[in-house]
Structure formats: structure tokens, C-alpha cells
Amino acid sequence: MNDKIKIVIGLVSFLVLTSSPFWLNIATGTDWARPNEVVEQEVARLRADPGLPCALKQSDKERAQGRPNREMIDKHMALLLEWRDQVVRDGDREVPEWWQDAKGQGRVVRGRRLEKSLSGGCLVCHTKKKPGETEYKFCDACHTYVQIDPYCWDCHVVP
């Protein structure tokens, strides 16, 4: 019957749209590495640099295994937001304890005193996010991979 053709066309369109990720991945299949490996490489790079303190908020087990900091991977965005509120709204600039030296101030790393800040703290050691470079850097690796586009840089200058 005539209607059955219409029904099949509709059904096939639905199936193709719903299962499109499968077709897309088959069509574009490329060899690729997960950015998690970039994070692991970054950890290895930082550990190999004698000038840097291994002073992350990291479990002893993870540190012993040379594994990335799980809690930081899961919750860094919440921490940055918390810091923003503390610094901008309450004027609380006390650096987190895992960055403190004996006097309770931020440690000096690569000639800079660590601040409670993304660009003045985290990015002192971690490779900066620089547009124009050919490889994705530390932050952008995972962000690009899962399509996260933090709106911080809509206003702030990209470090």
C-alpha cells in the first residue's frame, strides 16, 4: 500500500538520526589518544622537574603511583568558583594549605609567589592555555574533548 512507503521513510529517518553518532564515528574513525593521557603526561612532566614542589592536594596513593589527582579532575571547577567568591566578595586571599610555605604564605615557584588564583596559581606550573599553539594545552585538552567552553574568557584576557 502507498502509505507503507511513507511510514518506512519516516521510520528510517528516525533511525538514522537517532543512531547518527555510530555512523559518524564509523565515517570519521581516526586514531586518537585520550586527553587523560595528556593529563598523565603532564603529571609525569611536573614530577620530573626538580624545581617544582610536588605539592598538590593529592592522595598519597595517587602520588606514589604517579596518577593524576582524581579529586582535582572531578571538582576543579567548583574550587575555582569557591575561590572567586572568597577573593572577590570576601577579600579572603589566603592560599590553600597545600600551597603554603612555613609562614602560611604562598610558596615561591619559578620566581612567582603562588596566589589564590587560576592564572597566578595553577597556571604557574601547568602549561598555559595559549591560542595559536599547535597542540592543545593542559586545560584545553579535556575541555575541547568534551566540548566545554568556559565563559571565563568572554571577559577575562586569555592567559
Partner: protein
């Protein structure tokens, strides 16, 4: 009772995910085996149901209409309420599918308190709730494509973990635009998606409606409550994971992308990588790093997928196949034939034959005849 059974079923699923993943470490079962099974049942079940319907003959034109049929030229024709052509049917269907027109017509019947008079009010809340629910869910569904499609390179040059293709770039542009509109409130990091809130609020409203309105409550079955509790559970676990519990989204993308590339254990890498233990790494990279709440979310979604084709949720396909909606009211203008008359010819007795048989008797009692 129906509601309690449904709620208990959803809670049991959550408990199952917690026991299975946090307790028994069955990451592969809950992360790989069950999702593949669910997708196969979902797509296969929809094909089965739709093709079953497609094979049922529709012996008569039975559109339900609520407007003036096409008639004499000086009588106004209500084209959308009483379509007479395929294009008018398409217009009517579009209003139904995109804007839920029949829900818009929902009315509330009351006996007027001042006297024994029945009064009808328009009742728009069901229509508003249904619109919010369906469009919220659609947005959430489309947004989740980012977990299954290849990462795009965007404005930067190709790296080893992105796909340099204009199709992928276009897809990411579309998904990114949808997300930035959805996150326009810019509250929190990651930002709150309006669609998630709307989905949760609308599903909760549709559930409360079944509790509060006595007539609706009376006719509500477990199969009405279960999908609502399930979808509320899905939205709640999703929001909880994004804004409160938080887990490794990179590992989740690797799982989703791996599933959609038919290489789930390695997150899209060549299958042979699986046999190599990476130094200091887990045997199955990523999976054990994901919070159990993600697997609970996934199990609820898989349950929805498996449940979908065999439940009232199949109105997704059914709305297009309703003969009362998708047929033109042209019974008097066009002869409707299912195809049966060719296969099973019915002996016809036409008027001409009738008159031939009874002409003399008709003439005898002065009944006018066509042929003398």
C-alpha cells in the same frame, strides 16, 4: 498503590546500580553490556511496533474533525480542523506534533456553584506542562550527543585527539550554540542548563497533577506513574552529577565515544590497546574512575530505552500513525479503497440493474425512472 509500586521500582533500580557498581564493581556490565542491550531493544522495538501498525489495514477513512467540512464554495471551509487534502493534513499534523493542539483544547467541566448548571472552562496547564516537558527533554537529549560524537578541532589546528572534518565542526557548532543558549543564565561552573531545570519541574508538575486532581488520580495506572518517576530520576541524577556530586566527565566521554565507536573498553582507541597494561593505569582505563551515580543515571536511561517501545511512550511513533489525525476528510469526494475490493471482489448490484429489474413495478406505482 500504583504510584508506590512505580516509585519503588525506580528506587530499586538506583539501589541496583549502587550495589552493582560501588559494591560488586560490575562496571563493564552497567557501562557497556546493558547500554548496548538497551539501544538494540529501543531501536528494534520501535521498528517492530511501527511496522506492526503499518501492517494493520485501515478499512475506512476515520478522521476526527471539529470544523466545517469542505462544501459549497460560499460555505467557509475549516482547513486545519477538517482537512480535505494531504497538505492540509500535513498542517494539522504539524500543529499536533509540534504544538500539541489537542491538549490546547483541554477543558475542565464543573457544576456551577450558583445553580445546577454545567460550565466548561479552558484548562491550559496540562498543555503548558506537556510542552515544557517535551521540549525540555528534546533539548536534553540533543545536548547529550556531545558524549558520543568525535571531538572537533575547532579553531585550533588538528591534535591527536580531535577529528578534523567540516561535518564534525558543523555538528559541534550546532551543539555548542544550543548549549550556550541553554546556559544563558551563566550561573555556576559548569553553568546551569535551563532545559534540565524545565524538564525536572515539568515532569514533577505532571506527576503532582496525577496526585492532586481526583479524576486524574482515579484513572492513573502504574504505567502512568512509572515513566514519570523514571524521568524525574534521570533528570535528578543528571543535575546532581553536574552540579553537586561531580565526576570525571572526560572518562564518561571516553566511555560514550567508545560505545558509539564499537570499541567501548578503550574509549575509541584501537582494540589491541586493551591488552596492554598501561603503566600505573587501570586495566580498563577510565571506567573505575567514574562515580556510581553516573551508572545509576545510565541504568535509568537504559530502563527508559527498553521500556519505551512497549509502553504508552510509543506515542512518539503513534502520533504519526493515528488514522483519526492523519487522514483527510474526503470521503464524499474521493473513493477510499484499502485494496480489498481487488482481492475480494464483492458482487455489485448497480442502480441501473435495479431499475431494469423493477421498472415495470416502479412505473405501476408512479415512481420516476431514469430510462423509460
Amino acid at each position: 498503590m500504583n504510584a508506590f509500586v512505580s516509585l519503588a521500582a525506580v528506587l530499586a533500580l538506583l539501589l541496583l546500580a549502587w550495589l552493582g557498581v560501588a559494591g560488586l564493581q560490575l562496571h563493564i556490565l552497567f557501562g557497556i553490556v546493558i547500554p548496548y542491550f538497551a539501544v538494540v531493544v529501543f531501536l528494534g522495538g520501535i521498528v517492530y511496533r511501527v511496522m506492526t501498525w503499518a501492517n494493520v489495514p485501515v478499512p475506512f477513512r476515520i478522521p476526527t474533525t471539529c470544523g466545517q467540512q469542505k462544501s459549497l464554495p460560499w460555505i467557509g471551509h475549516s482547513k486545519l480542523e477538517n482537512p480535505s487534502s494531504s497538505w492540509q493534513v500535513a498542517g494539522r499534523m504539524a500543529l499536533e506534533v509540534l504544538f500539541f493542539r489537542s491538549l490546547f483544547r483541554n477543558t475542565k467541566t464543573e457544576v456551577h456553584p450558583d445553580g445546577p448548571k454545567v460550565v466548561y472552562h479552558p484548562a491550559y496547564w496540562l498543555w503548558i506542562g506537556a510542552l515544557a516537558f517535551h521540549y525540555g527533554f528534546l533539548t536534553v537529549f540533543v545536548r547529550h550527543f556531545r558524549f558520543f560524537v568525535p571531538p572537533a578541532c575547532g579553531y585550533q589546528q588538528a591534535a591527536s585527539w580531535c577529528t578534523d572534518s567540516s561535518v564534525v565542526d558543523g555538528l559541534w557548532w550546532a551543539l555548542g550554540t544550543l548549549e550556550s543558549v541553554d546556559a544563558f543564565l551563566q550561573v555556576g561552573a559548569p553553568p546551569v542548563f535551563v532545559s534540565g531545570i524545565i524538564l525536572l519541574a515539568a515532569a514533577t508538575y505532571l506527576l503532582l497533577r496525577r496526585f492532586v486532581i481526583p479524576q486524574v488520580r482515579y484513572i492513573s495506572l502504574a504505567s502512568d506513574y512509572f515513566p514519570l518517576f523514571l524521568i524525574i530520576g534521570i533528570a535528578a541524577t543528571g543535575i546532581l552529577m553536574r552540579h553537586f556530586v561531580r565526576t570525571d566527565i572526560e572518562a564518561i566521554k571516553a566511555l560514550g565515544y567508545g560505545l558509539a565507536s564499537f570499541a567501548p573498553l578503550t574509549g575509541g582507541e584501537a582494540w589491541s590497546q586493551f591488552v596492554h597494561h598501561r603503566p600505573g593505569g587501570a586495566f580498563v582505563p577510565g571506567l573505575p574512575d567514574i562515580h556510581w551515580l553516573f551508572f545509576a543515571h545510565l541504568l535509568l536511561v537504559c530502563t527508559l530505552f527498553v521500556y519505551f517501545p512497549f509502553s504508552k511512550l510509543m506515542h512518539l511513533g503513534g502520533v504519526f500513525l493515528s488514522p483519526t489525525r492523519n487522514m483527510a476528510n474526503s470521503n464524499r469526494a474521493v473513493r477510499y479503497d484499502v485494496g480489498w475490493s481487488a482481492r475480494h471482489p464483492v458482487p455489485a448490484h448497480t442502480y441501473e440493474e435495479y431499475e431494469d429489474e423493477f421498472r415495470d413495478k416502479m412505473k405501476m406505482v408512479d415512481i420516476p425512472v431514469d430510462k423509460e
